[in-house]
Symmetry: C2
């Protein structure tokens, strides 16, 4: 794996760019290496580009043709030549794929190829023929636009998912090499990235998962869980708030096996980072409790990169940020170190110039035989890693049958038989309660039977009611526990849960905040949905029913906004049975996230609600009509189902035939058969009234052109909840009156 | 204003809490002051609470009854006694209001009363009788839950908006003292806070606005723009990613007149910040380029607070973070320094104990006469500030008529006469173009006539097409320019624009990213809508039409999600005329934000589109029927309006009477008269087909129960745009086929 150098590795540390320690990098290597081997300016435009970046100008030195004599004083071994050839293979596979697609981002792969090579060829443990081998090291490309880097690496490493034809189909319809890394398209890709900052937060989740499982299941004689999480992030990721949230937690939790490479190339889409990003990232990460290493020459400083990784591994109580200064588009004589190489194909002429510059005589998509042969060892090596681990697990299973059964369930995703019996049920006589409290009952019941259930709240545990009473807090020194304290970091929380979910199929991460603050984490929730991460979002205080906190805290449009999102289940349970039903469906849906909108206020246990009903999304809870021909159908969700039921009581007293329907999950109802739908909402009955304390947007489809929707199409207000309900007309009287107009 | 001490103020700096410099605080004051005057533990539970916080345990010393002898060695002047009385007035007004409402957050006001007092009584320049006086210092309570602090201060300062009855109606229906600060409810409140982290980002926007206007309009002989922006933020704000984004920009821009007080009380809702927030905030802010001062005794260290503000003002090239260590719920013997005092009323018994503890003999809501009299000077003082400034402006106006006309327009919000003539118009013969490019034409045309137009993109200026070509970049040393480079910080960008909008009515801030990344900034966009900030959101790459970047970058549910949000205009213009129309409405709507969804791809200039049509939200662009009875109505938006028009051409060839309707803004259409609506969508015509490259969610109401909606109810895909359109069935053929089924 890494070199066997016995040097004092802390000498490579450089936490402040303003105090370069040239001595340290010299001590790291037997021969003197220039502190930065960038690109020599061989044209006036490249010179202009280089001088743009004031912070780097002093470092831009040396010869452009890396393959010949870029590193002056280091005597090259055959091995180093091969490494450079492999690195250039990665560069040109990326260049060629982007060129063929005439679309994509060549700049990052060209700059990050050296660290990519070292990670996949020298450092990481994985089995290319089984991308899902449990104990593999995880890699996340947080700067997802540079996905050709990862595709090239997966290709070289022998993953079946990325073959030559896949590279040639980069960014094409139904290819396995889409425009950004997508775990659901490409085995070997762990998570879905592209939206900046998500990946580093996913990586925090992956590293949390490893630390948790290791603490729970490792034994002194058998460390069955033991892998690293690597991530590459760029300037864009660093600017996003989500990355600071996640990095703060990673530091707090002391995730020592998280190693992040910061591709410090000083270029973002709008140009030099000077125009918008002049903070000291090093100092910030120091404040966040990370260990920081600076690799000053990310373009050719292979030994520096190796030494940094070794040092990072030696620091076990902190995550490490390896700042790797690179040249975006390294090797392109006229476009390197400029934004023009970030997100567009180089163009035929510049590709040719780059081939000349890097001494690359091959056809597009060609992998030289010696490079191919060098990488071919990963197939047998990976198989051996897995076989070795399997043997270890067999021993573990023998010696620790209980633990191994649990761990197996987390590894495979197979839910323990009969788990759903743990779900509580209620009768109308059961005491009224807030669905947030009922949610806690469910969570605590499920925690006993689902070993992969883990989660927490964004500093609202006692309001969201998410504490698992039988467990302590997941913390730096108690990582075996299952209550995660996310702090007020909703966006990071969602993305961390995505990482946990994608670590192993049996993880069931849940996270919580007030429903209105899904606005803070919507980007990570969308990635749950897109990347098929079955996260459970426990979202309390789901309407004006929260009262005095007022409109900043009262969701209005949020139900509609999630109903419109693909592949996510939006639940608004009305009582205990419906809350249990929502949890049942949520647990079963491991490839589809669920959002549970829960009340702050007490709600009665209604007659007619059921877990089975919830599974159908919409169902009749009471009906005094016959022949599927009620006079009117009243449709409610959550806290307003009670109001619909009350209105029905009134109308029935007046002799009307009234059906009350709970519409707890629109998505599930959509999936039912036409017959079932007709049995709940017969086409002939157009007298329909919906009531929901939220936007009426979208209800038109349910109640039809003749129906009426009672809801709230304005922002809320600060006052006691009952007062707001009354003033906003969310009342049984309003429902009854609307119904009478339609009958 | 502040004390006249001539001490070297940098001695008060303490950037690292781990290296306390006791010497420095002694040098700041003539007499020795204990480094921290906290609360003595007078009950076992308070002792337990105090010991909870490991980081502070050494500092918790001294006597609980502040009014008697808490500060041992400092000889008290009458003035200091009065200050303490005023501070306790603030505390008890807060306690009493929360108690009466039995709802609210007493902890922060009790802890932050000293800094609040000093700001409003000693430091800030404002006119209570004209809360909108242009040159006032701005104050933002980013920790908005502590709003009783601000209400108490506004009350004491003489603002008519917060009278005794308002305090007594805290958190009640239609009161001017809602549960979180809302600028649209309470004159004197600058912005709407509560969702954590928004306020500090708003404050960055306010400070940006000041720096920009000062650079543009100040003259050597007349500094007509000259105020500070103060903000109080808590641990919760600090944990949110948005605050890091905004703080990074504030440091980058060198906003020297931004002074932030970090209420460092170590308590968040879930308990001690130890459980989730152990980063060094000081070090992080150092990395972000801020000046940092630590006030170790925020509870009684009045001189320390004063000195810190003076020092902050002396640092003109950096924003300052004053970390003020306080005790949450200071004065409450049994609840101080615990989460229990954060968000609930103290309860009658503890209120009484606190009265005893702080020596407060008064009835609830009582303001002692000497305190009242002391504060009464702010009314004449404020009037004098404004009068003085008015005189200065009169001089300015005489000497600099052009500049003063512009500035006046920004101050008053009166748009220059005839501005709308700058809007471009198009004919079907005008060249096809992407609406993002047409948007840039509009922005550049408007920048010439609207002095308050200022904005930029989150590192996508060349993709969003947002550069104002006649201006340079707003930067630290060129703040008079109008292109703002936000970096990849969407959430911060939105909130900064809210701050700019609320600085002066004539500011028209715009900001940009890809439409899908509204998910990153939705919380700030919602606050634009709620707080009536007329920000223009320029959102390009608005559908699968962006092609190869794939599903992470392709919005699907986003149109629906904004159509469901109250008080925001969602536009999806189809061509040049519609883009101009969207800008016209957006500019006119100064109290309602607008979102423009714009295409990456070229679109033809359509026949029948118009600015006037856009103003109605939905309108007919072509029709070959008569008597308001078309066979079918085809409804499209944006890039799909062309497809609807093509389908109409086909159907008309087959002899059908077809109306094509552009539904560019649902909200505006909703506001039209019933007659107008009937003229566009006659109730009798139920054959309606909608087409939009996004979720069909919500279209049910427009097309009705018999209509059909062609859209995309799944995530997108990575491929060339044309291919995706075809594979997803977003085609003229599909529209024509659907229409034929209905006719």
């Amino acid at each position: 794996m890494a070199s066997s150098s016995s040097l004092t590795l802390s000498q490579a540390i450089l936490s402040r760019p303003s105090i370069p320690r040239h001595g340290s990098s010299q001590q790291l290597h037997p021969a003197s290496i220039p502190s930065f081997s960038g690109l020599k300016s061989i044209s006036s435009s490249a010179a202009a580009a280089a001088s743009l970046s004031r912070r780097r100008s002093a470092a831009v030195v040396r010869h452009p043709v890396i393959a010949s004599a870029a590193v002056e004083t280091l005597e090259k071994t055959t091995e180093t030549e091969l490494v450079e050839k492999s690195v250039n293979t990665i560069r040109f596979l990326s260049i060629d794929a982007v060129e063929k697609a005439n679309s994509g981002h060549p700049g990052l792969p060209m700059g990050c190829a050296p660290m990519g090579h070292i990670l996949y060829d020298e450092v990481m443990r994985y089995n290319p023929k089984n991308p899902y081998w449990f104990n593999r090291d995880r890699f996340v490309l947080s700067a997802g636009h540079g996905c050709m880097l990862q595709y090239a690496l997966l290709h070289l490493a022998g993953y079946d998912s990325v073959q030559e034809d896949d590279l040639k189909n980069f960014r094409q319809w139904e290819s396995r090499t889409p425009g950004h890394p997508e775990n659901f398209e490409t085995p070997g890709v762990e998570v879905t990235t592209g939206p900046l900052g998500q990946g580093i937060a996913n990586a925090v989740g992956l590293a949390l998962a490893e630390k948790h499982l290791a603490a729970r299941y490792n034994k002194p004689d058998n460390e069955i869980v033991d892998h690293y999480t690597y991530v590459i992030l760029g300037d864009g990721c660093q600017m996003e708030g989500i990355s600071n949230e996640a990095a703060s937690l990673a530091g707090h939790w002391g995730l020592g096996k998280l190693i992040a490479f910061y591709d410090d190339n000083h270029i973002s889409i709008d140009g030099d980072t000077e125009i918008a990003f002049t903070e000291s990232v090093d100092t910030r990460f120091e404040g966040l409790g990370w260990h920081i290493i600076w690799v000053k020459n990310g373009n050719t400083g292979y030994d520096e990169i190796r030494a940094a990784i070794k040092e990072a591994k030696s620091v076990t109580d902190k995550p490490t940020l390896i700042k790797v200064t690179t040249t975006i588009g390294f090797g392109s004589p006229n476009k390197a170190n400029s934004y023009s190489v970030h997100g567009s194909a180089l163009g035929a002429k510049e590709v040719e110039a780059t081939r000349q510059n890097l001494g690359w005589p091959y056809e597009p998509f060609h992998v030289p035989e010696d490079v191919k042969s060098h990488w071919s060892r990963h197939t047998p090596e990976g198989a051996a890693f897995e076989a070795e681990w399997n043997a270890k697990f067999a021993e573990y299973e023998k010696k620790y049958p209980e633990e191994s059964a649990e761990l197996k369930s987390i590894i495979t995703g197979a839910l323990p038989a009969g788990w759903e019996k743990a779900l509580p049920t209620y009768t109308p006589e059961s005491p009224a309660d807030a669905t947030r409290n009922l949610s806690q009952t469910n969570l605590n019941a499920l925690a006993k039977v689902l070993p992969g259930l883990i989660g927490g709240s964004a500093d609202l545990a006692s309001s969201n009611m998410t504490l698992l009473k039988m467990f302590g807090d997941f913390q730096k020194n108690t990582p075996e526990e299952r209550n995660v304290r996310f702090g007020v970091r909703e966006h990071g929380m969602g993305a961390i849960c995505n990482g946990i979910a994608h670590h192993s199929p049996g993880f069931i991460p849940y996270c919580a905040t007030f429903f209105v603050f899904t606005d803070y984490m919507r980007a990570s929730m969308r990635i749950s949905a897109l990347s098929e991460a079955g996260v459970i979002y426990v979202m309390t205080h789901d309407s004006i029913g929260l009262g005095e906190d007022g409109p900043t805290h009262q969701p209005i449009e949020h139900l509609a906004s999630f109903r419109a999102m693909p592949n996510i289940l939006m639940f608004r349970p009305a009582d205990g049975n419906e809350t249990a039903g929502a949890y049942k469906v949520a647990v079963l849906n491991r490839k589809r996230p669920s959002v549970l909108a829960l009340s702050r206020q007490k709600l009665p246990q209604l007659s007619g609600t059921s877990i089975e009903g919830v599974e159908k999304g919409g169902y009749t809870i009471s009906d005094n009509s016959s022949g599927n021909k009620p006079d009117v159908i009243l449709i409610g969700t959550g806290s307003e189902l009670e109001i619909a039921a009350k209105a029905a009581d009134e109308l029935r007293k007046e002799g009307k035939a009234v059906r009350v329907v709970s519409f707890v999950s629109w998505e599930l109802f959509d999936e039912q058969s036409a017959e079932y739908k007709e049995s709940v909402l017969p086409a002939a009955v157009t007298a329909r009234v919906s009531i929901e304390a939220g936007s009426t947007f979208g209800w038109g489809k349910i109640v039809g052109s003749s129906g009426k929707s009672i809801g709230i199409d304005r922002f809320g207000a600060s006052a006691p909840a009952g007062k707001i309900y009354k003033e906003f007309g969310i009342t049984a009287e309003a429902v009854a009156a609307a119904a009478k107009e339609l009958i």
